[in-house]
Amino acid sequence: MSQQTKKGHFPWKHIIGFLISIALTLVAFATALWTDWSSTTIFIIILIFAVIQAALQLVMFMHMTEGEDGGLISGNTLFGFFIAIVIIVGTYWLMTSGHMHMGMSM
C-alpha cells in the first residue's frame, strides 16, 4: 500500500501508469499493423516497448521501489538483469567471434 492512498490522495501514480501502458500498447499495435517496416525492425520495436511496459508495471503498480525493502528489491532486480545480460551477450559474443565460429554451422 502506497503512502498516497493511505492519506486518501487521488491515486495519480496509478492513473498515469495506466495511461502510459495503454499508449505503449497502442503504439506497439500500430507499428505491427500500419507500418511496412521489415519484421525484424517491428520485432525489436515491440520488444523495447514490452521491456518499458514491464518496468512500468513493476514500479507503478507492484510498488517495487516502495516500502522498507524497496531499494533492496530494485537493486537486486537490476543486478539480476545485469547478470542475465552479461551472460547472454557474453556467451553470444564468444560463440560467434574469433576462430571458434569457423568450425560451427552457424
Binding site: 525493502d69 533492496l72 537486486n76 543486478f79 539480476g80 545485469f82 547478470i83 552479461v86 551472460i87 557474453g90 556467451t91 559474443w93 564468444l94 560463440m95 567471434s97 574469433g98 576462430h99 571458434m100 560451427m104 554451422s105
Partner: protein, 649 residues
Amino acid sequence: MDLKWNEFIITGDPLILGAQISILLGGIAVVAALTYFKKWSWLWKEWLTSVDHKKLGIMYILSALLMLFRGGIDGLMIRTQLAKPGMEFLDPQHYNEVFSTHGVIMILFMAMPFLIGLINYIVPLQIGARDVAFPYLNNLSFWTFFVGMALFNISFIIGGSPDAGWTGYTPLATNEFSPGPGQNYYLLAIQIAGIGTLMTGINFFVTILKMRTKGMTLMKMSMFTWTSLITMLIIIFAFPVLTVALAMQTFDRLFGSVLFTLQGDGNPMLWVNLFWVWGHPEVYIVILPAFGIFSEIISTFARKQLFAYKAMVVSIVTISVLSFLVWVHHFFTMGNSAEANSFFSITTMAISIPTGVKIFNWLFTMYRGRITFTTPMLWSLAFIPNFVIGGVTGVMLAMAAADYQYHNTYFLVSHFHYVLISGTVFACFAGLIYWYPKMFGHKLNEKIGKWAFWIFVIGFNVCFFPQYFLGLDGMPRRISTYLPEDGWTGLNMISTIGAFMMGLAFLIFVYNIYYSWRYSPREKTGDAWGLGRNLEWATTSSIPPHYNFAVLPEVTGLDPYWDMKEKGLDQQKNTDYKPIHMPSNSSTPAIMSALMGMAAFGLVFQWYWVGIVGAVGIFITMIVRSFDYNDGYYVSVEEIKETEAKANK
C-alpha cells in the same frame, strides 16, 4: 545400459578392493556401535532431523572433514604416482579418475560445506537471531548436499568414477568418449548438491537481510556476515547456470540430445563457456567467506577494530559484480577473438584491485595492535604472504598473450592451489579452531595445533612452490607419468614430500580433536578467547542454548560485544524473559533427499523405473510436507530460567 555384475561393482584393482573392504568394515563398526549403545533414536531425533542451525553447521563441518580426508588421499595418490618417472602405482585410467574426483570433492564437497557449515553456525549468532529464516529448508539443504556427496563417493566402488576432469569438458565427457556411468555420477551428484547450495543461498540471504537484531544496520554487521551475504548473492545468481548446464549435459548423455556433442549441431565449447560462467563466481563463493573469517580473527587477536571497514565492504560488493565478468580467463586459448580475450584480460586484472585493498586492510588492522599469536591467528598470518604469491601468479596468468605459455601446465596447478589452499583451507582451519569453543565447549590444544600449523604450512610450500618451476619447465597437468629425460624428477620428488607433510599435519589436526576432547579444560563463559568482538561471544554458555539468546541483544555500534564490554553492559543481566518461538524438527527432508539419491542412482545406470519411483517419491514427500501444519513450539519462561541458571554455573 547393460552391465555385468563385475562391471557394476568395480573389481580387480587392489587399491579399490582395499577401499571397499575398509568402507564395509567401517560401516559395520558404525552400525554396531550405534546399536550397542542404543543411539539410533538419539541420532535421528537430535541430529539428523534437527532444524537447529548450530547442529546443521556441525554436521556440515564433519562431512567436510571426511571429504578433506577422501580428497586428500586422492591428492596423495596423485603425488605418489608422479614422484618418480615411470611409476606404476596408478594406471592412466585410474589416474584420470583420481584427479577428477580430487577436484570435484575438494571444491564442491569439502570447501563449500566447510564454509557453509561455519556460516550456518556463526552467522545467525552474529546477527543476534534465534535461527535462520527457513529452518526446514536449512535441513533440506544439508541433506541434498549429503546425498549428492554420498552419490559421488560411491562411484569409485560401484560403476566407476568420472574421469573427464573436475570440469567435465565436452566433447571428452560425451557418451562417445566417456561411455559408462562415471560421468553420469558427476552430473547427477553435483546437480543434487547444487540444488541444496542454491537453497542455502536463498535461506541465508533472507536471514541476513530480515532477521538482524534490533539496532544492527547493514553497516554494523560483522565482516564475516557481510562476506556471507555477498557470497549468498553470488550463489543465487551463479548456481542456476550450473543447474541448467548440468541438465543439458545430462540430456546429451541420457536422452541423446546433441547440445554439446560433435555430431549434429552440437557445440562442445558452449559447455566450457557455461561451466565457467558458474565456475568463476564459484571461486569467489569459496574465497569471500574465507576473507570474512580472516577479518574476524585478525581484528580479534590484534585487539583492534577492522581497519577501513567501509572500504572492505565496498571492495566485497565490487567483487560480487566483477566476479561475473571474468570467466573467459579460464579458456583464453580456446580460440576466442582478440577483442574478447583483451576484454576479459582487463577485467581479470581489475578484480585483483579490491582483493589488494583487503590485504592492506588486514595489514593496517594489525599495525600497532597488540597481537596474540594463537593458532587461528597464525593461520591468518600465514594466509597473507602465501595468498599474495597465489595472487601475483594469478595476474601473470591473466595476461592472455602470456597465458598461451602457462596454460595447461603445472604453473596453473600451483597458482590455484596457492589461492585455494592458503585462502580457503587455511580459513577453514583457522575458523574451526577459532570457533571450536563455541561449538564444543572447549578449545583445541594450542601446542598440538601449532605443530599441525607449521608442518602444514611448510609442507604446503614444499609441495606447491616447485610446481611453478615445473610448469615453466613445460610439465603439463593431468599427465599420469613422464620420462627421466624430461628433467622433472627432482622437483616432483620434492613436491611429493611436501604433500605427505600436509597429510601428516591433517592427521595431527584430527588427533588434536581427540586429545582436546579428552584433556582440554571446559570453557565457563561465552567469551572463550576473552577478546570476542561480535555477538556470537555474547551467549551465556560457551555452547549457546538451542534458542541462542534468552533475550535478544541490542546493538549500538560496530563490534557490538566489544562495545557492550567497554560500556560495562552485561547481556546476561537482562532477565526479562518471554516465551521463545522455535521451529520443530522434521523428518521429511532426510527422506526426500534419500529419494532424490535413489532417483539419481537410477538415472546414473539408466534404470528408468528406479528413477521414476524415486521421482514419484519426491513428489509424495512434498505433498506430505504441504499438509504439515506444525508451526513450531514455544520454550516456556521456566525452561529458559532453568537453562540460563545452569549455563552460568
